[in-house]
């Protein structure tokens, strides 16, 4: 692809992303759009650690929940605006990620994945039993009418939540793009490809992993804060659930792990599928929607293990091969 074609495509996609919520008047459609954007951010954040650096985390809800709780607590107890709380939450999540990362990065592959599951479960239990932050009852956020951006609460138009998330998503993508091109990006890939080789060529692998996890945790926590502002109610089962951890990971893998635009593709498919099947078939607690959700995951994994973008690339490669002999 020529360079200007790429620019035109990016501009078109951006325009579409901005116009899209105005074309969809129903609240449910807006809700779906907001979730798509939220999981695009979360998937991208997960990708930094899981996709680029190769450390599979199944406990990212820890950072998501820390973000949600920090901004909510600061708002409820001290009346601090969520934008500040969001950044503080991001910093706390980063610190927690370093505390988690220091001992667990010694673990490889499955041992690390299981450790993150264990940490996720432990964190939820601790928050469930921590009375000062509401325990199992959860937290209700104070309602502030008037749709001011500073309060990060919008009643007149849900679109604004979408635009806030879109902004965060674009910043995230930009950050990942810059990292990918930088020395740090090469370190990430080196650690993913071969831990030993990276170590042998003088890369401080432990530090590289910590940096990846820190950035990942920071972005995840920011998304958590926005989610809390959107729901206006949080409890440990909502924000620390293992289903969120799993879904974050799925979004990134479904789109194609370690690819810049993988998460937005993955989250579009996953969120649309799960939300609409839940709306149509989810009644009665029969789990039909989740059967469809699970089946889709199984099919993608079984027939296209490299994710949707991997599939696109394979088709392209085949076409190129077909073209060469003719030329």
């Amino acid at each position: 692809m020529k360079k200007y074609t790429v620019y035109i495509l990016i501009a078109a996609a951006l325009l579409a992303a901005i116009v899209l919520p105005r074309l969809l008047p129903k609240p449910f459609e807006k809700h779906v759009l907001i979730l798509i954007m939220l999981y695009s951010i979360l998937g991208s954040a997960w990708n930094i650690l899981g996709g680029y650096t190769g450390q599979v985390s199944l406990g990212h809800a820890v950072f998501f929940g820390i973000g949600a709780y920090t901004s909510s607590i600061m708002l409820i107890k001290w009346g601090i605006v969520p934008w500040v709380g969001m950044l503080v939450g991001g910093v706390i999540a980063t610190i927690v990620s370093i505390i988690i990362g220091l001992p667990t990065f010694k673990l490889r592959g499955f041992y690390f994945a299981i450790a993150t599951i264990a940490l996720g479960e432990m964190t939820r239990t601790l928050f469930l039993n921590w009375e000062w932050i509401g325990g199992a009852v959860g937290l209700e956020l104070p309602i502030k009418r008037g749709d001011k951006l500073i309060n990060l609460q919008f009643y007149l138009s849900k679109n604004n939540y979408y635009y806030v998330l879109l902004g965060i998503f674009l910043l995230t993508i930009l950050a990942i793009y810059v990292i990918q091109k930088s020395k740090l990006g090469y370190y990430f890939r080196a650690v993913k490809d071969s831990h030993e080789a990276a170590l042998a060529s003088g890369i401080d692998t432990a530090r590289t992993k910590l940096v990846a996890m820190g950035i990942s945790a920071f972005i995840t926590a920011i998304a958590g804060s926005v989610y809390a502002q959107y729901l206006l109610y949080i409890d440990p089962y909502v924000v620390f659930s293992s289903a969120i951890s799993t879904r974050i990971c799925l979004v990134a893998i479904l789109g194609g792990e370690g690819r810049l635009f993988g998460p937005i593709i993955g989250s579009s498919i996953l969120v649309i599928l799960s939300e609409y099947s839940r709306a149509w078939l989810g009644g009665g607690g029969k789990g039909v929607d989740l059967i469809i959700y699970g089946t889709l995951i199984v099919l993608v994994a079984a027939f296209q293990p490299r994710g949707i973008l991997g599939m696109v690339e394979m088709v392209k490669a085949k076409r190129q091969k077909a073209v060469v002999p003719n030329a």
Binding site: V56, K106, F110, Y111, L119, M122, N129, I253, I291, A302
Partner: protein, 288 residues
């Protein structure tokens, strides 16, 4: 009871629970050892084993302990089918695809269970073994002791199979070096299919013996799944005795923490033990 007897009682209860976890864990260890992948749907095989026992009991009035061979056979066949239809496609794929597939499978199985049998808790009435016996002042309920013995027996049988039989040696060879095993004439695809079937059968038996003393519901697998994983990691992936001992340890820690600290924190303690162990021994207690 004096405090010492209480302690012993709690540990015994933990060992009984632990032996069920151990059986699920052995299945995970076999799959990990032979085909170098992790099956997140192992707990769901336990759930299916429980329902199989339940429905056999409803239809033909057979006790789960009597129908255990049928359950084992059914779960073995199911495991082989799952391998042939799904797992075989990702056996060479990256770890993430394998994880994704078994994750999806576990979601599907839980919800198929929910769809077919509803979310109500079921129990099996009139089980064969009931009551308690007292061993040196420690009360042991028979419907926990018998399952523990059965699962110990099964674990021993699996270990014997892997160590002493020709097929078991083929399993070992495949787990050591896939290519070399194929080179000396081992049909690795058959080994994989049998290993997956065996793992499913272990979980199925665990479900079968668990069904006489525990509630049967579609989500029952998740707790055991998580515990079994921690047990396998604790013991060291791929080590059968390690997985068994890991399972017992998790059972005891669950029981002790539930009694002496608080039921709410028993997961925290079990996972804490795991984290502390792997921080000092990153490949588990018996791993290499």
């Amino acid at each position: 009871m004096n405090p010492f007897q209480v302690l012993i009682q709690t540990i015994v209860n933990g060992l009984l629970l632990g032996s069920i976890i151990a059986l699920v864990a052995i299945g995970i260890a076999i799959i990990r050892g032979v085909m170098d992948m992790v099956n997140f749907a192992q707990g769901e095989f336990l759930m299916l084993g429980m329902y199989a026992s339940y429905w056999i009991n409803v239809k033909w009035n057979l006790d789960p302990l009597v129908s255990a061979p049928i359950t084992i056979a059914l779960m073995f066949i199911l495991g082989v089918i799952v391998y042939k239809v799904l797992i075989a496609r990702v056996i060479e794929a990256p770890m993430l695809a394998q994880m994704l597939l078994t994750f999806g499978l576990s979601i599907v199985l839980v919800n198929v269970g929910l769809f077919l049998w509803g979310s109500q808790f079921k129990t099996i009435p009139n089980v064969l073994v009931k009551g308690t016996i007292s061993i040196g002042g420690v009360m042991v309920s028979l419907n926990a002791l018998v399952p523990a013995l059965v699962s110990l027996l099964m674990a021993g049988a699996v270990y014997w199979f892997l160590m002493k039989t020709r097929m078991g040696r083929a399993f070992q060879a495949t787990s050591m070096n896939k290519k070399a095993a194929a080179l000396v004439g081992i049909d690795t695809q058959t080994v994989y299919a049998l290993a997956f079937g065996l793992a499913a059968a272990c979980a199925g038996l665990a479900g079968s013996v668990l069904s006489i003393s525990y509630y049967i519901f579609p989500g029952v697998g998740s707790v055991f799944n998580l515990y079994a994983f921690v047990a396998v990691c604790l013991g060291g992936f791929g080590s059968i005795p390690g997985a068994f001992i890991g399972g017992l340890m998790i059972g005891v820690s669950d029981s002790l923490a539930g009694f002496y600290i608080s039921a709410a924190f028993k997961y925290v303690v079990a996972f804490g033990i795991y984290l502390v162990t792997v921080i000092f021994k990153p490949k588990g207690l018996f791993g290499w």
